[in-house]
Amino acid sequence: MKTDDLIHALSQDAAIREPAPDRTLAIALAVGGVAAAIVFALLLGPREDFPEALHEARFVFKFILTGTLTAVAAMLASSFVRPTAPADARGWLLLAPLALIVGALALEMFATPSGEWAELLVGTNWLVCLTYVPIIAAAPLAALVAAMRRGAPTQPALAGALAGLASGALAAMLYAAHCPDDSPFFVAVWYGLAIGIVTVAGAFAGHRLLRW
């Protein structure tokens, strides 16, 4: 085809139809979040002492940490879905959840005798955590990757990884309501590992599905 003919055809299709990609991503995150909440409610549900636990700092911290990570990952994802990334991506935002967990670990080290650390770290429920966080994350990850396909990510694997990070953190936030282990030691290791699994899955999905 002659370039001139192509340009003519394109110009006849000028008007825009699709919404901006960050809007599409926000909708996907909302829809995926609702789906994840339903999956969580059906499979696990909140733990029995949930209302009382809300008065405990360690329990509440789990939501602050995972909520911050979800928001930061979603913001980065909305940068990396556009071809101008990484120029406008605020990667330093990741320091916020990092500072939260490092600070919490330091406080926990002061608050508990070192003899108990290993026990706190292993907790009681790590296998459930590693199993259910990825399961709960599946729907939001699928929604986010589908939304990203409408964008123009120039680093597909990285974009997919950010979708995985956001989905994993979102799933961990829901799972936190069920999880009986509240020590930052447990959260850092097992939540971190579970979210990491979803992030790697997202990177693979992005590598395969986000080329255009």
């Binding site: 085809m1 002659k2 003919d5 340009i7 110009s11 006849q12 299709d13 901006a20 255009w212």
Partner: protein, 184 residues
């Protein structure tokens, strides 16, 4: 005050996104020689043949078109275009088995330069269009090859303008997929 080239192009893009096909065409006409230069530079730097630079350039134009909703109307156009052009060039090099190291700065530089007059190589790839079955084929032939407007094509085929627009849009998306297949 003189507008910079980026401001002028961004204004054409905004008008195009709002449905002004004349302004949009002006943008694409201005872009294609710059993109061609960019692709040639990139292919040459990677040690690949520049013979099919026009294919890569057309694929890039098509990508710019299909992804135009990812441009924010308040940001400069150049870096956005350079991002897409670089991605498509890396993609093309990868398919040719070349190591794909393409720095973005030279591409932004090319965009910022005054446009070079390039002789347009008129390489016919009509088989892409000739093989099209049915209504989509008719629409692309009518609009792209005969350079008719949507309105003329619609009345010639007794379809509504909206229907022709949708067929054209779908066809352009398929064309992008076909480029990838052919060069795979």
């Amino acid at each position: 005050m003189m507008k910079t080239r980026d401001e002028e192009w961004a204004a054409w893009m905004r008008a195009g996104l709002a449905g002004d096909s004349v302004a949009y065409r002006r943008l694409l006409d201005a872009l294609s020689p710059v993109l061609r230069q960019m692709v040639r530079n990139g292919l040459a730097r990677a040690g690949a043949s520049v013979g099919d630079a026009d294919d890569v350039m057309q694929e890039t134009l098509l990508a710019i078109h299909l992804k135009r909703h990812t441009w924010r109307a308040d940001e400069p156009l150049g870096p956005w275009i350079a991002g897409i052009a670089r991605y498509k060039l890396i993609d093309a090099l990868r398919r040719r088995g070349k190591r794909a190291e393409v720095p973005i700065e030279p591409m932004i530089d090319v965009l910022a330069e005054a446009p070079q007059e390039q002789e347009v190589s008129i390489e016919e790839v009509t088989r892409l269009v000739d093989g099209l079955p049915g209504r989509q084929g008719e629409v692309v032939r009518a609009v792209a090859i005969s350079q008719r407007s949507i309105r003329e094509a619609a009345s010639g085929m007794s379809l509504s303008e909206g229907a022709v627009r949708v067929l054209l849009h779908r066809r352009l998306k398929k064309l992008a997929a076909q480029y990838r297949m052919e060069n795979a």
